[in-house]
């Protein structure tokens, strides 16, 4: 990074080769046009009324709560997993890394079905738990959170693992020579060093969870007020009430932009 006084001057490297401009503009148009269309079709006159309907407010609340909870769970479980993948060497590590990434590439519906087989009423783990305690994960808010976590967790693990791998480990050596044990080194040296990766991973994870559809609808169902998140509500409304669907979509766009734009420059651009 050069000194501040040079930052404002135009640099030769900042001017694009002309060949890049048309495809860049075309791509931007392709990304933005659907949102313009959404705005154009928005029922502006009845928007206020649509947005205050319980269908919308409940879905919004469920979406925010479940995405946030999934992010929290991913942080608690994903950071240690990322550390294990980045720092320890155990047989079958590349297989484990592949398994962690699987939910990223698998169709979410398949993930939802797999979750049912594991945690459903007659699932591998869900069956015994239900017989013993009567607790059922699917078709509840907990089910929504589980589906969101399952699909979004890999984004956090991948980002944090990359951060751990690129972190300068000599600082950890320095801490050890000062007498710090492994836990103190992790808490006071490693975590602060990879904080930008953790924040970036958490934002990606949250964004993925917010838009989750397939796994949620398969594993948690589509019960208004209990498991119906924004994407599910939009999908349902498209069939019956196009105005409501557009209104819901606008809310999702607004919420996403409100979170991503301020964070992008600070944490994601590195």
């Amino acid at each position: 990074m050069t000194a501040g006084h040079g930052a404002r001057r135009p640099r030769a490297s900042g001017r694009p080769p002309w060949a890049l401009v048309p495809p860049a503009a075309l791509t931007l148009g392709f990304l933005v046009l659907p949102f313009v269309a959404l705005l154009q079709r928005a029922p502006w006159s009845s928007l206020r009324e649509l947005l205050s309907a319980p269908l919308v407010t409940e879905a919004l609340r469920l979406s925010l709560v479940s995405a946030l909870a999934a992010t929290g769970l991913s942080l608690v479980g994903g950071v240690p997993l990322a550390w294990m993948l980045a720092r320890t060497d155990f047989p079958g590590r590349s297989l484990v890394r592949g398994l962690v990434l699987l939910p990223m590439v698998l169709p979410p519906v398949v993930g939802g079905a797999a979750l049912l087989f594991a945690f459903g009423r007659r699932g591998l783990v869900g069956g015994p738990v239900y017989d013993g305690t009567g607790f059922l994960l699917p078709f509840s808010l907990w089910g929504v959170i589980a589906a969101n976590t399952f699909v979004a967790l890999p984004f956090l693990v991948v980002t944090v693992e990359a951060g751990l791998r690129s972190a300068d480990r000599r600082y950890e050596d320095a801490a050890a020579t000062l007498g710090a044990g492994r836990w103190m080194i992790f808490r006071q040296v490693t975590l602060p060093m990879v904080l930008p990766s953790i924040v970036a991973g958490a934002v990606l994870c949250w964004a993925r969870a917010l838009g989750e559809f397939g796994a949620t609808v398969t594993f948690a169902g589509n019960l208004q007020g209990r498991t119906q998140t924004m994407p599910l509500a939009v999908f349902l409304a498209l069939e019956s009430d196009r105005g409501a669907a557009i209104a819901l979509s606008l809310v999702l766009v607004a919420v996403s932009l409100a979170v991503l734009v301020p964070l992008r420059d600070r944490w994601l651009a590195a």
């Binding site: 050596d173 320095a174 020579t177 000062l178 007498g179 044990g181």
Partner: protein
């Protein structure tokens, strides 16, 4: 008292070196990049386990694979000043110094008070609240040293402590480091590739090249009688290897013979020559009182008002394939012009017998 006897294979490095540092002594581990200096330091710090050998401080064994002993880094009585200093970027200078005390279970308030005392002693009280990036190179170096000393180690290890500094602040910081090193009573081991750091800061040198110790001794001894081309070049001397061919005669690999003033100390000998003592001629010099041998100019390099002429020996007779000595002559620009020196020019190099320092290899 630090004793380290290290055998280790690590990638391309094949390390087999022993170092001893007494209390109150500063020893510099000097060597070219990749020689294994930093690895020696990492082994002593416990950041790298040895394959074989033994590391002990004050008689306590820290690493001995044969006995199954390995004391982890955090439990070794050492302080390390790293290259680039490695101050924790998110902590203030004060909290960097307090870190080691906190790691030893000193309560936070007490650790900070002690750290403030340490910083005040080295004249850094005013930057206690500053983050590392706001410190100058010299300040950052002093904070790193203070951080290492605050845990009151028995041995202080310094890895290229001046390498992160620009040339201008280096001179000043080197003098400062010398002063602050003197306040520590334990053993001090300094790793460096810079002969000036080694000469200024150390009492004794251990020279390490491609994983082996090639020379050890006081700085004056090593500077006067280099045993390897690397050391000779560092201290600006030419080094010729040869064998005894008479009480005062050394035969070089090329077949050329040199007459020295002192009697030869053994059969395999090294001869050191200052570049200024070498004179060059286009024809074989007359008279036999002087040493003369044929050479070829490899390169010329201007250095202020002198020109350094890189030479290799020309073989006489049938010594093809023998490794011939490269030497440097330092002459005036006027003689370069007069002799018409250019790469490839064949010359005769001469040196007076009294200018040849001869010693056992």
């Amino acid at each position: 008292m630090l004793r380290a006897d290290i055998t280790l294979r690590l990638g391309d490095l094949d390390l087999d070196a022993a170092v001893e540092v007494a209390d109150g002594e500063v020893v510099a581990l000097l060597g070219p990049n990749g020689a294994g200096k930093t690895t020696v330091l990492r082994c002593i710090a416990g950041l790298q386990a040895v394959d074989a050998g033994r590391i002990e401080i004050d008689g306590r064994v820290l690493d001995d694979p044969a006995a199954g002993t390995f004391v982890p880094t955090a439990e070794r009585p050492i302080g390390v000043v790293f290259q680039d200093h490695l101050l924790f970027p998110r902590l203030t200078a004060l909290d960097n110094v307090a870190f080691g005390l906190r790691a030893r279970g000193v309560p936070k308030a007490q650790a900070r008070a002690d750290a403030a005392g340490w910083l005040a002693r080295v004249g850094l009280a005013e930057v206690a609240g500053a983050k590392p990036r706001a410190l100058s190179g010299g300040q950052s170096q002093r904070v790193a040293l203070t951080r290492a000393l605050a845990t009151e180690p028995r041995v202080l290890l310094l890895d290229e402590p001046l390498a992160a500094l620009d040339a201008r602040s280096r001179v000043h910081v080197r003098a400062e480091l010398r002063r602050h090193l003197a306040t520590f009573a334990g053993a001090r081991l300094l790793v460096t590739h810079d002969p000036v750091d080694a000469l200024v800061l150390a009492d004794r040198l251990v020279v390490i090249e491609t994983g082996r110790v090639t020379q050890r001794g006081t700085t004056a001894e090593v500077a006067r009688r280099p045993r390897s081309r690397y050391v000779a070049e560092l201290v600006g001397l030419n080094l010729l290897h040869g064998t005894a061919a008479g009480e005062h005669t050394v035969r070089l690999a090329s077949g050329a013979e040199l007459t020295v003033a002192d009697p030869l100390p053994g059969h395999e000998v090294a001869v050191a020559v200052r570049p200024q003592a070498v004179t060059l001629h286009r024809r074989p010099p007359e008279g036999s009182a002087r040493n003369a041998w044929p050479a070829v100019v490899v390169d010329l390099e201007a250095d202020h008002d002198r020109v350094r002429v890189q030479l290799t020996e020309r073989a006489q007779g049938g010594t093809d394939g023998a490794s011939l000595s490269a030497i440097v002559a330092e002459v005036t620009p006027a003689s370069v012009a007069e002799l018409g020196l250019a790469p490839g020019t064949e010359v005769w190099a001469t040196v007076k017998a009294v200018d040849l320092a001869v010693y056992e290899r």
